[in-house]
C-alpha cells in the first residue's frame, strides 16, 4: 500500500518525502551534508568564493558543505536549481548579480523574491581595462575616442547583455554617448576577454578590476578607472569614474549566499551568523587579498534591499540598451 503511494507519481511522492524534512530540519540542523549550488564554472570568481566559504562553513558546523556546480544557460540553470530545491536548509547556493538581469532579458521568471537571502559574500567593482600598448592613458582619452568614432572600438569581457556589457553601456550612457558606441563582442568570461585584449582582438574590457589583477601586475593591461564611489583599497592608484570623467556612474557585481524561499528562519539566521564570523576571520581575508577581492559583508535584511535596488538599476540600463524583453 505504502509502496504504491510512492510509485503513484513523482510529484506526489516527492511531497511525501519532503514533508517530514521541514520538521526534522528544525530539530537538529545540520545533520547531513548541505549542498552549495554554484551557477558558474569551476575556477571563476563565484566558484572561488563559494568553495572558500563552503570549506570554512564545514569547519564551523562540523558538517559537510558540498559545492555542487550547476552551470550553463547563462546562469539560469543554477539559479533555478537553488530556487526550486526543497527549502529544508540542506540546499543553499550562490546567487549572483545576474538574478536582477536574467528576468529582464526574458531568460527566466526568477527574481530575488524567490529566495531567502542569507548574506552577501562580496561586492565586485567593475574597472575599465585597456591593453598596455593602448594609446589611451586616461579614461577621458578613451571616452573621447569612443565619442569621436562610435562603433570602431570594440569591448568584451562577458556574454551579450552580461554584467560587464551593462557596465560599459551604462558608463557611455551617463556621458551622453550612445550605449552601443563601443560594440560588445561576447566572450565566455573575463579571462577570455582579457586574453583577447592582450592579443589585440578588442580595445576595452570593462570587467572586475580584481579579475585583471594578474595581467595588471604583469604590465600587460592598464586599468583606467574603477566604477565605484571611492577608490578600491587593493588598487589605490586607479581613479574612480567620478574623478576621471566626472560621471556619477557606478557598477558593482555582487555575489551572495541565498536559500530557497521558505527555508526555516532559524537556519538562515545560523548560517548568516556563521558567515559573518568567517568573514571577520583571517582565512577569509587572506583568501580575498590573494586575488585582489575586498571583504564586504551584509546581513540578510540589508542584502534583500540591496539586491532589489540592483535589480531596478540594471533593468533601466537594459531598457536603454534595447536588450530588455520584458
Amino acid at each position: 500500500m505504502k509502496r504504491r503511494t510512492f510509485l503513484g507519481g513523482t510529484v506526489a511522492a516527492s511531497t511525501v518525502v519532503a514533508a517530514p524534512a521541514v520538521v526534522s530540519a528544525q530539530a537538529a540542523w545540520p545533520n547531513r551534508p548541505v549542498q552549495v549550488i554554484v551557477p558558474w564554472g569551476a575556477g571563476g570568481g563565484t566558484d572561488y568564493h563559494a568553495r572558500t566559504m563552503a570549506t570554512l562553513l564545514e569547519r564551523e558546523f562540523r558538517n559537510p558543505f558540498t559545492v555542487v556546480q550547476r552551470t550553463g544557460g547563462s546562469g539560469v540553470v543554477g539559479h533555478s536549481a537553488i530556487a526550486e530545491a526543497a527549502p529544508d536548509g540542506y540546499t543553499i547556493g550562490t546567487v549572483t548579480v545576474e538574478i536582477g538581469m536574467m528576468h529582464w532579458a526574458g531568460l527566466t521568471k526568477l527574481t530575488v523574491a524567490d529566495y531567502a537571502p542569507i548574506s552577501l559574500l562580496n561586492l565586485i567593482p567593475a574597472g575599465v581595462q585597456v591593453a598596455a600598448n593602448s594609446p589611451w592613458r586616461t579614461l577621458k582619452d578613451m571616452v573621447d575616442a569612443v565619442r569621436a568614432n562610435p562603433g570602431r572600438h570594440k569591448s568584451s569581457g562577458t556574454g551579450q547583455g552580461g554584467i560587464w556589457h551593462l557596465a560599459i553601456a551604462g558608463l557611455l550612457n551617463s556621458m551622453q554617448i550612445r550605449p552601443d558606441a563601443a560594440p560588445w563582442v561576447p566572450s565566455e568570461g573575463a579571462a577570455s576577454g582579457l586574453q583577447d585584449l592582450v592579443a589585440g582582438g578588442v580595445d576595452i574590457v570593462p570587467c572586475a578590476i580584481a579579475e585583471a589583477s594578474t595581467l595588471l601586475r604583469a604590465g600587460r593591461v592598464r586599468s583606467l578607472a574603477v566604477m565605484t564611489a571611492s577608490r578600491v583599497p587593493a588598487f589605490p592608484d586607479v581613479p574612480t569614474v567620478k574623478e576621471a570623467v566626472g560621471s556619477d556612474w557606478t557598477c558593482e557585481s555582487f555575489l551572495s549566499l541565498m536559500a530557497p524561499k521558505g527555508t526555516p528562519a532559524d537556519v538562515v539566521a545560523r548560517l548568516d551568523a556563521a558567515v559573518k564570523k568567517i568573514m571577520e576571520g583571517p582565512e577569509w581575508k587572506q583568501a580575498m587579498d590573494a586575488r585582489g577581492f575586498g571583504v564586504n559583508y551584509m546581513g540578510a535584511g540589508q542584502l534583500q534591499a540591496f539586491a532589489t535596488r540592483s535589480n531596478e538599476a540594471f533593468g533601466g540600463v537594459m531598457r536603454a540598451l534595447g536588450i530588455a524583453r520584458t
Binding site: D47, R51, T55, Q160
Partner: protein
Amino acid sequence: MIDGVFWTALALVFEPQTLMVGLAAAMFGLFVGAVPGLSATMAVALLIPVTFFMPPVPALVAVVMTTAMAIFAGDIPSVLLRIPGTPASAAYTDDAFAMTKRGQGELAMGICLVTSAIGGLFGAVVLVLLAPILADFAIRFSSFEYFWLVLLGLTCAVFVCHGNMIKGTVSLLLGLFIATIGLDPLAGFPRFTFEVRDLYSGLPFIATMVGMFAVSEILRTVTALGQPLEVVKHQFGNVFAGVWRVLRRYHWNMWRGNAIGTAIGILPGAGADIAAWISYSVGKRFSRTPETFGKGSEEGLVDAGAANNAAVAGAWVPALVFGIPGDSVTAIVIGMLFLKGLQPGPMIFDNSPVETTALFIAFFVANLALLPIGWLAIKASGYTLSIPRAYLMPIILLFCMVGSFAVNNDPFAILVMLVMGVVAFLMMENDIPIAPAILGMVLGDQLEKTFLTSLMKVDGEVSRLIERPIAAWLAAITVIIWAMMLWSAWRQWRAAKTRA
C-alpha cells in the same frame, strides 16, 4: 641554477607527508580517470577543499599527480571495453579496443602507459625551459587565429573518418549540430530547446560521449547473436613487452605527438582531448598505412597517447605566466595558486622560486611514478575481462549513469546518455563513424564563436579575417591542405575512371 632553491624544493617534495599525499592523489586520479563520465577536471575540483588547509607544495603535488594519473587511466576502459574513461581518450578508443580483440591488450596498455609518461615528461621539460617565451606567444592568439586553428582542426575530422567519406561528414555535421543546442554563444538565445529548460545549457558533453561510446557498446554486446555475452578472456602478460619495439619504430610519431600535445596544451582554451584528436589525425595523414587507423593501429595509439599527457603540462604554461588557463583543469588550479599565495604572473618564478621548482619536480616525479603505479593499475584492471558479462554489463551501465549525473548533478544527463546511445547504435549499424561527431561537438561551439566574434570585430568584412599575420599563416596552411585533399580526391577519381 641548481643551487639551494633546488635542494630545498626537492626536500619539500620528498617529505614523507607530501609523498603520502601524492600517493593518495595518484589512487584518486586512477579511479576518477578510469570511471567513464568522471574527468580530470572534476577530480581537481574535488581536490580544492581537501588541499585548502595544506601547505602549497603538497597541494601542488596532489593536483599534478591526480591529473597525470587520470589522463592515463582514461585509456584503461578504452582498451578493455571500448569506453573512453575521459574525453582525452576518445580519439583512439577504437584502435585500443581493436588491439584487445586481437589479443594484444597488454601491448595497447603498454603503449598508452609509456607514451603517457614520456609525453608528460616532454611537456614538463618544455614547461621548465620555455614557459615565459611560449606563454608570450600563446597569449597573442585572438579569435582570428583561433578561428583558423579550429577550421584546421575540423579539416582533421576528414582524416579521422574511416570508410565512406560522406557518412563521415554527416557524423561531423551531426556533432556540430548537437553543439548548437542550448543558449547560443553570442546572444544567449535558446536554440532547438523547445522550451525544455534542461536543454538551455545544451546537451551535456560527457553524458553524450558516454552514451555514444558506452551505451552503444552495451547495446551491441547484448544484441550480439551466436556469441551470447562473451568477450576475449585474456589475462594480461608482460605490459612492457613489445612496447620498446613499437616506440623505436614510431619514435618520430611519438616526438611529433609530444610536440603537438604540448603546443595545444599551451594554447588557452584547448586541452588534452583536442590535442589527442589533432595528433591522431596528423598521424593518419602522414602514415604509410592510414587504412589501419581505427582498426587497431599501434601507430595511431602512439600518436594520440603521446599528445594527451603532454598537453597536461603545457596547459600550465599560460596559467603560471599570465593567470590564463590553458585548459579546464588549470582554470581551477589558478584559484588554488592564489589561495596558496602564489601569484601567477611573469614574476612567479622569481617571487616563489621554491614552490615553482617544487612544481616542476612534481611533474617529473608524477610522470615517472606513472610507470609503476600505472603498471599495477593495468594488472588489477585486467581482471575486469574475466568478470562474466552478466555481472559486468549492468555494473558498467550503473557507473556510466552515476558518472554522467555527477558532472553537473543533473538527472537529465541520464536521458541524454540513453538517447545518444541509441543514436550511436543506429549509426554503427549503418557504418556511420562516431568519432567525427564527438570531434564536431568539441569544436562546434568554438568554431561558431570564433567565426562570428571575429566578424563582429571587423564589422563583417570577411577579407579582414586574414589581416593579422599569424591568422594569415594559419589560413594559408588550411587552404593548402584543402587544395591537397581536393587534388588527391580528383586523382583517385581519374584513376578509378581510367580503370573502368
